[in-house]
């Protein structure tokens, strides 16, 4: 990292992201208004789902449509274990996550060998298969689902009592704490050899292989980690709604997850957070209800793809500012700009 200004710039961005997450968490957790508790819970949950998809698509380059299916496996596992078989919530969660990871290994083993489009279709097939199996299973309550008061209860932190009951400020705080933990974890992967390997595979698989990076191994790891994140989102979703049904995990959820990652900025760690804020803001807060909400969101996506294909966080503010000013005599920002460079077609990604 020779150029200090670039490094400082990106460091700042990370800091901005963290400040935003903390502000959102404090705002939604303390406001006490049920409407905002509702909005805050959804923002955190969708940011988690988006982060799951962002890890596997934005970082690892695998357009996996199975993420919602992972959320369903985890959410239903908790629902069945607690509501049907009388397990406690805290005992059910680790088993649910383990089952989801196991499922992701099976899906990954079969689908990660396929390239591009075929991988996407294969993972979508798995996701829809999950919904299909759930809808026809008596145990899972068929299409009506399982009504269950996911009783998380309270945690005692010394003298403090943390009430985690659904639809309270404490629950919103829990959702944001989990989101922050996931974002920190993704940051750790970003800086590790595993993260570089995933980046490399996304950019050029042939080159990566020539450098000793084994595609299946690293992609499977990325897939498993993304499944854990999706599982956390799925469990939180079911917990928040105190209810789980196959309708949550169909195609609309898959599309919403893709849309909010594209909106926030693919491959940016805090992209899904921004995407979730905008998505929930338009469809829930502005109450541009039903088809109109989707319509407005769709129009926004079209504008974004046209004018900022890298998403909101991918908008290069310095370049915009430069464009607004009269062109400087020399472009000292970029040392190689002396010669005109044929640009490769946009990859739509940053590291």
């Amino acid at each position: 990292m020779k150029s200090g200004s670039v490094k400082a710039f990106f460091k700042d961005r990370t800091r901005i992201g963290w400040v935003a997450v903390v502000v959102l968490a404090v705002f939604f957790a303390t406001i006490g208004d049920p409407t905002y508790i509702h909005l805050g819970s959804l923002v955190a949950i969708w940011a988690l789902w988006g982060s799951s998809f962002n890890l596997i698509w934005g970082y690892a380059g695998q357009f996996s449509l199975a993420q919602v299916g992972f959320g369903a496996v985890a959410g239903y596992s908790v629902a069945i274990l607690t509501a049907r078989w009388g397990w406690s919530f805290w005992a059910a969660v680790p088993l649910a996550i383990a089952l989801t990871v196991l499922f992701s290994v099976v899906v990954g083993y079969f689908s990660l060998r396929l390239s591009g489009f075929y991988f996407a279709i294969m993972t979508l097939a798995f996701a829809l298969l999950v919904v299909r199996v759930i809808s026809s299973s008596e145990l899972a309550g068929r299409s009506t689902g399982i009504k269950s008061n996911f009783d998380i209860g309270t945690i005692s932190l010394g003298p403090l009592e943390w009430n985690l009951t659904s639809r309270t400020g404490g629950f919103v705080l829990l959702a944001f704490v989990l989101l922050a933990a996931v974002l920190a974890f993704i940051g750790r992967i970003e800086r590790s050899g595993t993260g570089w390997a995933l980046n490399g595979l996304r950019e050029d698989e042939t080159l990566s292989r020539s450098l000793g990076i084994e595609p299946l191994r690293f992609r499977l790891v990325g897939f498993m980690v993304s499944a854990v994140i999706a599982a956390i989102g799925g469990i939180l979703y079911a917990t928040y709604l105190r209810y789980i049904s196959p309708g949550f995990f169909g195609l609309p959820a898959v599309i919403a997850m893709i849309a909010l990652v594209v909106l926030g900025g693919r491959g940016f760690r805090f992209g899904p957070v921004l995407g979730a804020v905008v998505y929930i803001g338009i469809t829930q807060w502005l109450e541009v209800g039903g088809e109109w909400g989707d319509g407005v969101f769709g129009a926004l996506l079209i504008l974004l793809v046209l004018f900022a294909p890298k998403g909101l966080l991918g908008i290069d503010l310095r370049r915009l500012r430069r464009r607004a000013e009269p062109p400087p005599p020399t472009d000292d920002d970029e040392p190689v700009a002396a010669r005109p460079v044929p640009r490769r077609e946009s990859q739509g990604v940053k590291a």
Binding site: M1, K2, S3, V6, F185, R188, I189, R191, S192, G193, T194, G195, W196, A197, N199, G200, E203, D204, T206, L207, S208, R209, S210, L211, G212, I213, E214, P215, R217, F218, V221, V225, E334, P335, V336, R339, V341, P342, R343, R344, Q347, V349, K350, A351
Partner: protein
């Protein structure tokens, strides 16, 4: 890493290599060995099967028949990644770089073979992961200095001009810490100044103990850097000798050198 290799030891050897595409034998019974410390060149007209040989040796293509040994061990069916990890590294004719990453990030990514990732340690954030991250950065910084790429460190590889992208592709191969580096047309598309720079790079790479084999059309480059030249035509090896011997070989002159390739 190369210290344990005895000079003159045959590192890589292939015997009776055959690769068919449909009914056509692109490589038809080729065999040779690469000795430690040697710079060899593999030349021949377009379509002679040179790049196919590289693809077979590096594991990017499966052999139809024949065998490949690496330091006495059979690697005929070993994965490309395993071959790269053990020090048999190749570069590409088209400059392959990680386009959306900066030059520095490209090099960090390429250090994978030197500093292998322990996935569990990376995910759990164990101290070893942090140490390896530092090793990677250090190794990448060293390569930036050694190949004068430091000024471009923060430039996205996809934004580099062709010559520099080509050079970065070569340095990525070096970053994988090869014992043998198979270079597929490193001079293709380069101007004269860039070819001179490539000669220096080759000397640097050779000086660090790496055995080099080059597929190339640039005869000036080949004649000045190679200890040994192998000539292929229509999937077969038609000559193998010193540059001087090859330049005077009638079959070679007829097949290849006669066609104005005296640059």
């Amino acid at each position: 890493m190369t210290a344990e290799v005895a000079p003159g030891e045959v590192l890589l050897e292939c015997t009776d290599l055959v690769r068919r595409f449909g009914g056509v034998a692109a490589v038809d019974g080729v065999g040779f060995g690469l000795r430690a410390g040697e710079v060899s060149a593999l030349i021949g007209p377009n379509g002679a099967g040179k790049t196919t040989v590289f693809n077979l040796l590096s594991g990017f293509l499966a052999v139809t028949s024949g065998s490949i040994t690496w330091r006495g061990r059979d690697i005929t069916s070993a994965k490309a990644t395993a071959r790269a990890g053990s020090g048999l590294v190749r570069t590409f004719q088209q400059p392959r770089v990680f386009a959306a990453l900066t030059v520095h990030q490209n090099l960090v990514t390429a250090t994978h073979a030197v500093v292998p990732s322990r996935v569990s340690a990376d995910l759990l954030g164990l101290p070893g992961a942090r140490r390896r991250a530092r090793q990677r950065q250090g190794f990448a910084d060293e390569l930036l200095d050694r190949f004068d790429l430091a000024v471009h460190a923060e430039v996205k590889a996809g934004d580099l001009p062709y010559g520099l992208r080509k050079r970065l592709g070569l340095v990525l191969g070096v970053a994988a810490s090869p014992r043998v580096l198979l270079m597929d047309e490193p001079a293709a598309g380069l101007n004269d100044a860039e070819v001179e720079l490539l000669k220096q790079d080759l000397a640097t790479i050779r000086g660090s103990g790496v055995t080099i084999c080059i597929v190339e059309h640039h005869m000036g480059l080949i004649m000045s850097v190679s200890d040994r030249v192998m000539v292929m035509e229509s999937g077969r090896m038609i000559a193998d000798g010193t540059p001087a011997e090859i330049a005077n070989d009638e079959r070679v002159v007829a097949a290849y050198l006669g066609q104005g390739a005296t640059a």
